[in-house]
Symmetry: D2
Subunit: 288 residues, 4 copies
């Protein structure tokens, strides 16, 4: 299909519709837009093989939250956390007995790729406390484990293999995989969050997750959460770019700040989804 | 003149010639290209007001070193250090009695802006040793001070004011100001070093150096050394970019690595210029 | 006097009284203890040359705030900020027209020495806004500049010279110098804050401030604020320590966390002192 | 046995001999001292249950390399790397077909605990290249994987469980576990390297490795490599320390530098052990 690289279903959908030169829906895809509390939420459902082939994404549900002022507006941050928590809870049945493994993908030493590792460092991790000191925890808090497995180039091991191995050992009911994404539109950097119940497919994502990280490879439902942090240079300069530039990924100058702010938002959305009834103020006291 | 933003005289020169639709030289500008040891060195001299106006840069000499494989090739790094040392020594008369103040401009917390602060952390600083323990130093080493003054937004003080104040106090014969630059061509990120005997003019540069940092403001010759680390998004997508994108600065995904490698090169070029006879191996032992 | 190294007047006072084997006050020293809102506040005043000689500290007022649970108790943090603001305001007349230069001393690359640089990165800096855009600021906010001058070993310039030079240029009415301190008692690490109206004397302090940073050297009142982050190994093992160990400075394993928490406290105490009426929540929104 | 905390067999041995007030060897322990190329190498072998009980360490071989000037002497660094490589190769049969999993234990956000994570970031990782692109590698290079699993408090998972799970998946022939250690003598910080063929026992080590990481728990030989970075405050002040101080771990002020230098040494010793014939210059080119 399109040869402009994007990890966002919502962008793939737009481009496919444009390419098909029709305004009616693509067969095998359903989409819905709503505004919640001033924040745009678009849900794209890929329903069958045809939809999957045309959009170049696995079948499943992709929720996109768009909030242009997320980077600096505290109220927007609070609203987005709430929407994230709701959507995660819709995709997975989380009870106080659940154990969830959150995997922060990507390379912590490359700023635009550090979203996942930054998110896991802000989670309220409870699995070990529930095992040994459960009376110390509020009973609404579920079991949370969090790892930052690294990338193939620095570990020598496929990321999916590390997560599958740990999953086999600790037997969570759910995996949440967080990763930086590539978008086609530079305006999406830091303003868009995608939550998908499909996990990560082979070859997708900025990181080296070639084997895929999904229910098929791990045996457990995988929710993938991502925020665009890079775009293809090929994408931004839509014409006449020299060959050698094509694969170059670019990001914005304020990427350090963006990773800090968006990882806080994503982490707190996950914290609220997994620990029912917790407030952002509670999280502040736990995580610092 | 051109409304594509660049801090590189060599790019301003190219664009001006293209705009003038002639291949002959612009009046008031002289340029010279040579290959030294396999490395391209272009010298642009702006000779008068006309050249200055057309190129949008102060009168003076701008040496541009281009080395596409600087990021990963150790031999290129060594050659570039040598060329830098030679060019700095051509611009300033450095003896073992000289005192030079090196100022690393920019914001250390924004990766693409951290070139200057990273360079000063790799310099062989000797001024205090020469003052108190000069017998411990090789007699070819000159006096070097190094500061990272910060940026207006975090200090509340104009950078030029900080450097001028310190200059008045310690009375160096030379200032070298190192800063990250903006280029028009994304291929120049990390591959180009510009050395100019003009200092930094009001309003130029990525940092907030609105007052300028030059012989006029400081009373001392100022050599400005920079490496492009960002480009305007407006530049990369040459057409039909929406207004709101125009001022956005973009950089490449591997900017962390680029800052590490290029700051080492720039620092060692300065170290070799200021400490005659020192080798890269000596520097390794001093700086670690 | 005592050969156990301490930067705290309150410790020097205790040791001197113990050495003098009397419980009455040392001639030339007055001290006062009070508990405010559950926090211990001790004020030691060195009144004359005799007191100065016996305690080994300059004449002036040293306020010590002690809060053993500062590291993890949010309420303690809030109380300590308030006490700090009150004490700073007692020592200096701060109005909305004041300009204060805050200097964060020490080496940012040595964790136990990074208190000062960490504090300045959390200040609400306003001087440039007051100069150019004063209508944007609440009228209770005073002018604040902040610099992290580095240490002699990395700049080649005496820290006092850098600060004096900048002081001559921007003409603040007050300097606040923040630095990590050495204490005699390991229990004081991260639990004690000293505020002194004496500035920093030649040779004192962990940093290399050999020339002193005080009203005499700068022409402006200097308030010195410090938190103990290291102790002499000689101090901790009170007897029979081998010679070669004597100058070794030790710190606690959780020093990274300590620097983070105490620098937030010190910064916010200064923010509240300089910007009257500002709340901790306001600061959070400004500084992030 | 002794209630002074040490992870070093060589210290436990000394203290046990002192306590036993005899100079003859403890039954069940054999030790040997030699100087190699100017570097002290002590081998303590715990041969049976009696030796194990008295020294409080598992049966096996503990090699201690002592090099007081390791922190700043380049020649010492080179010699120590060579000795490390030799000792690792004595403990394990490494061929070009071997696969080794190196685990960097500890918490990267606590400087004195970051030795392990710092070491793995400097390794030449080859497992993925051998699998897919083996013709690109020199045939003497063995397969190396490297992970930094995190600590129980931040992952919610026992470290030994993570490593065992990954071991079951990728089936290495050898595990090398690197961790920061606690010593009794402050002079050992940064100057001593311990290599043991016993793995890590339940409860030992600075990190939270309560389940042990050894051949019994993983099914694979585990070589443990550590460097002391902390001591008990109780240890340093040999007498009359108040109860509440007892568990406090202290480190030296220059711990940032120590972690940088010693992690480079340990990493390069491992690199040389696993990639036969590689030189330190080769490593520099690989790792940068």
């Amino acid at each position: 299909m399109q040869n402009i690289r994007t990890d966002l279903a919502v962008e793939a959908h737009e481009m496919s519709k444009k390419e098909a030169k029709n305004t009616s829906e693509i067969e095998g895809v359903a989409s819905e837009f709503e505004e919640r509390n001033g924040i745009s939420v678009t849900t794209v459902k890929i329903l069958n093989e045809n939809g999957s082939k045309i959009l170049g994404k696995a079948c499943g549900t992709y929720v996109t939250i768009e909030a242009p002022d997320l980077k600096y507006n505290t109220e927007t941050y609070e609203k987005v956390c709430k929407i994230m928590a709701d959507e995660i809870q819709k995709m997975a049945d989380i009870t106080s007995d659940s154990v969830t493994l959150v995997a922060g993908l990507g390379n912590r030493d490359i700023t635009p790729d550090a979203l996942g590792t930054s998110v896991v460092s802000r989670l309220i991790v409870t699995n070990h406390i529930k095992t040994h000191l459960s009376h110390l925890l509020d009973k609404n808090m579920s079991g949370v484990c969090a790892i930052a497995p690294g990338v193939l180039g620095t570990t020598g091991i496929e990321t999916a293999d590390i997560i599958t191995a740990i999953t086999n050992k600790i037997k969570p009911q759910l995996i949440i995989a967080v990763d930086a994404l590539a978008a086609a539109d530079i305006n999406r950097i830091s303003t868009t969050i995608q939550i998908a119940d499909t996990g990560i497919q082979p070859g997708a994502g900025v990181g080296n997750n070639r084997e895929g990280l999904n229910e098929k490879t791990t045996g457990v439902k995988v929710i993938a959460i991502g925020v665009p942090t890079v775009i293809d240079a090929a994408t931004i300069s839509k014409i006449e770019i020299p060959e050698e530039l094509a694969p170059l990924m670019v990001t914005t100058k304020d990427i350090d700040l963006i990773i800090e702010r968006t990882s806080k938002t994503v982490a707190d959305g996950i914290n609220m989804a997994l620990h029912k009834g917790i407030t952002l103020h509670d999280i502040e006291c736990f995580v610092g």
